[in-house]
């Protein structure tokens, strides 16, 4: 209660005419973070459900935690494995190294993204929107561990401003913010985003980890396939995620836990999620039958960013299709497109990012067609 009294005491400073009025949105953001706002309704329903967008976004962040924690461990694991010192390192050491390698990226992502978000909210005299809480953790998880922090900062700034704020904020954007950031990095600094040299942390941090020799390379299984080599990774490693790749997207198990949380709380649509997988399976089977891909359909699903994209990014309610029928079409399109890009485009070993980008682009059209069926039913009734 003392905290509440303190907030009440300092609140006038942030209101219209107060000397700290320039920080009103930030104060409001923190106040509503600490306490459920007790503003009561003035029109419409007198009672409200306890759910709000803060709760929803928090649940998504919680769902992302397993993938993030495992990603940290895997960053350490890959470094120690490459240096050949894995046997002598403790689990804690391995995790701590990964933690120290990933933490700056998460901090940079949040500081840059939320900084812009706060400033924008203040400028527009709006409340701070929670959408970036999720984007801010997804972005560090879908980039290679060696991405320089300044690139990440640039990408976050680009994505927040040009994928979200100029459209009017969370709920109005056409493209997924995290996909926007990944696309920016991919097309601006493609040598740092793909290839063999980027997937394993190369330098030791605070005495932990190992300095790897200059020119050390380690391909991901998908880029090996792209080069025409059959990957030598076991299915076990693909599922647990002990393979090189973007920080958070290697472990199917960790992503699976996240998927369970999202589906159970109803925040992600099972229709979207399952049809992404269905689309992927269908396309992978077609290519396998045609002999165009060397690996089995299930390997396509568990490699690369497929699972992560299907669970956390394709299901973004704002940028995905909003109608129930549309969700099936949208999901199927993304799953199929991801595999098509993988198999048929020699330039890109992974296709999930592009597939979601295309999916986002087509979602309004898909919805338009679905809604228009309802419209034409009404028009026909009028004619009778």
């Amino acid at each position: 209660m003392n905290l509440r009294n303190y907030l009440n005491k300092i609140k006038p400073n942030f209101q219209e005419g107060g000397k700290l009025h320039a920080f009103e949105s930030i104060f409001d953001g923190f106040e509503t973070f600490l306490y459920v706002p007790n503003r009561t309704s003035t029109s419409g329903v007198n009672i409200h459900d306890a759910i709000d967008s803060k709760r929803i976004m928090s649940m998504v962040v919680i769902a992302l935690l397993p993938a993030m924690l495992f990603g940290m461990y895997n960053v350490g694991y890959q470094n120690y494995l490459a240096a050949g010192t894995l046997a002598t390192a403790s689990l804690f050491e391995v995790f701590l190294f990964g933690f120290l390698a990933v933490l700056p990226k998460i901090l940079v992502s949040y500081i840059v993204g939320l900084g812009i978000e706060f400033a924008w909210a203040q400028w527009k005299h709006e409340e701070i929107q929670e959408g970036y809480l999720v984007s801010g953790i997804i972005i560090p998880l879908i980039i290679p561990v060696t991405t320089p922090l300044w690139m990440l900062a640039l990408a976050c700034a680009f994505a927040v401003i040009f994928c979200k704020e100029i459209f009017g904020g969370t709920g109005m954007n056409i493209f997924n913010v995290a996909v926007g950031a990944r696309m920016f990095l991919f097309f601006s600094y493609s040598s740092k985003m793909t290839g063999d040299a980027v997937w394993v942390a190369q330098e030791s941090i605070l005495g932990l980890g190992n300095n790897l020799p200059d020119g050390f390379t380690m391909a991901t299984p998908l880029s090996q396939i792209g080069q025409g080599i059959l990957p030598n990774t076991s299915i076990y490693n693909m599922v647990t995620g002990l393979i090189p790749g973007s920080i958070g997207e290697t472990s199917v198990i960790a992503i699976g836990i996240g998927a369970f949380i999202l589906l159970w709380t109803g925040i992600a649509s099972w229709k979207t999620m399952s049809s992404v997988f269905f689309g992927g399976v269908v396309m992978a089977l077609i290519f396998k039958t045609l002999g165009m891909t060397p690996i089995a359909w299930y390997e396509h699903l568990i490699l690369g960013g497929f699972c992560f994209g299907a669970v956390f990014m394709a299901t973004d309610p704002v940028t995905s299709a909003r109608t129930e029928t549309g969700k099936y079409i949208y999901g199927f399109m993304i799953g199929a497109m991801a595999i098509i890009v993988r198999v048929m485009n020699p330039g890109y070993p992974e296709g999930m990012m592009l597939a979601i980008f295309f999916g986002n682009m087509f979602a309004p059209l898909i919805d338009y067609c679905v809604v228009n069926q309802n419209v034409s039913r009404r028009v026909n009734r009028l004619k009778k």
Binding site: N38, D49, I51, S53, G171, M172
Partner: protein, 450 residues
């Protein structure tokens, strides 16, 4: 053979303080107030002066757009005050109740000899016609347009809503006469719930009875119309609340206007939730005397918590008020870290809370907090889960916000009324004021089409 329409979508909110089926009679208040705002879409023109004497059935005000639509005084006595607000808007016409009630005699009619026009004329004369609402626009109707059909929903299933069967007791004959009178004008559809067993409902004559079996808002007349006889542009359907049917029946039975009604007093902050025999225009103070647990931090609602509006002790029972509810205001509640704490006492349809674990029998004591900030529409499919209509709610709301009238028509705005969006507004995680958006959209549309 009674038709049954099964509805799956919707949500029952189990609130604390439901009225028990016990009728309490309160004496006629010393002063009543007839509130024009209770009749949606009516711009009132007062036709009495302060100091005039009126009988029961004399007009107090008329609809400015259609002066033949009068609004009858529920009591006889002396007009004490015409209360006006900003820009001289009429807020209320107050009448001091005389000791002896005198009635205007409209004459007992033989229904079998009347046709639709006669019934309309009698309702207009007696000042009851304005109680009839219509779709599209969900407003008080006018006599110029002939309705395609008439819908009466005897099912009130909003949280804490009054049970019509309680009111029906002793009014069975008037209810049936009212239905028969209306059936002279157009085909009458009576919607009831699966648990309503009163034979005056299930075996009502001159009407088509349909059972709507499903969670709230199955009782919404808009939902019933959407499933039984969808409305198209250019058509008008009358929607009449069952209490008004009783008023109409009494007029033809006795030749008098009799606006006595039964109102539920309910809610978690009410000492003895019950039904009260009272009259249109009775002050809340008479109804709620000694009933409210504490006076600070409570909200008195004229109606039920979903569609009623915030009110106060000095308000009056409106023409369509079927319950008065009292819930905690909640402005003194400070819940910490709502985004992560379990909040077991809160109700939510989201599985990020534990309502689903606590069973359907648990009664909740919800307050009037919004419990979150307003955002743009983020989650998809939330509205559709609680709106059992062939309507794409999100797209309709977006079309209304965008002011795109063509699109609104295409998406079926003529079929909806604000109350249909009440549950959607309740579950909305973006906390958008949907009922207000729909009402504003309907008002704009009405002006455009006028």
């Amino acid at each position: 053979m009674v038709n049954v329409v099964k509805l799956r979508k919707g949500l029952n909110i189990n609130l604390k303080g439901k009225a028990i089926q016990k009728k309490v009679t309160i004496e006629l208040p010393s002063e009543i107030g007839l509130v024009p705002a209770a009749f949606e879409g009516v711009v009132p023109k007062v036709v009495v002066n302060e100091g005039d004497s009126v009988k029961v059935g004399d007009a107090l005000f008329v609809n400015k757009a259609f002066p033949e639509i009068k609004f009858a005084s529920p009591v006889s006595g002396k007009v004490t005050k015409v209360v006006r607000g900003d820009r001289r808007k009429v807020l209320c016409v107050k009448v001091q109740v005389a000791n002896e009630q005198q009635y205007v005699d409209f004459g007992i009619k033989d229904l079998s000899k009347l046709n639709g026009e006669d019934v309309k004329r009698d309702l207009l004369d007696a000042g009851l016609f304005g109680y009839i609402n219509q779709l599209p626009y969900a407003i008080s109707t006018n006599p110029k347009v002939h309705p395609e059909a008439i819908f009466v929903s005897a099912l009130r299933d909003m949280p804490l809503a009054s049970d019509f069967e309680v009111e029906l007791e002793g009014n069975e004959e008037a209810f049936q006469v009212g239905l028969s009178a209306l059936s002279k004008i157009a085909k009458v559809h009576l919607g009831i719930g699966p648990n309503q067993s009163n034979r005056s409902l299930t075996e009502a004559a001159d009407v088509e009875v349909t059972i709507y079996d499903g969670p709230c808002p199955a009782g919404n007349v808009g939902v019933q119309i959407n499933h039984t006889r969808p409305i198209t542009k250019g058509e008008v359907i009358w929607t009449i609340d069952p209490t008004t049917v009783i008023f109409i029946g009494r007029l033809f039975l006795t030749g008098k206007v009799d606006l006595r009604k039964v109102v539920a007093v309910a809610g978690s902050e009410v000492n003895n939730p019950c039904y009260v025999n009272t009259i249109v225009g009775a002050p809340f103070s008479a109804l709620l005397k000694g009933q409210i647990k504490e006076t600070a931090h409570v909200r008195i609602i004229n109606g039920n918590p979903l569609v009623g509006h915030k009110s106060c002790m000095t308000d009056y029972i409106g023409g369509h008020t079927s319950e008065v509810t009292v819930i905690p205001e909640g402005d003194d509640v400070n819940e910490m870290l709502g985004w992560i704490s379990p909040r077991l006492s809160n109700f939510s349809v989201s599985h990020s809370y534990f309502t689903w674990l606590l069973g359907k029998k648990k009664e909740y004591c919800l307050d009037a907090r919004i419990k979150g900030g307003e955002r743009h529409m983020i989650m998809s499919g939330e509205y559709d889960k609680v709106l059992p209509m062939d309507i794409y709610a999100e797209y309709l709301i977006k079309a209304i916000i965008a002011g795109n009238i063509d699109r609104q028509e295409q998406l079926g705005i003529y079929e909806v009324s604000p109350e249909d969006f009440a549950l959607a507004e309740f579950v909305d995680s973006s906390k958008m004021p949907l009922q207000k958006i729909v009402r504003d959209g309907l008002n704009t549309l009405r002006k455009e089409n006028a």
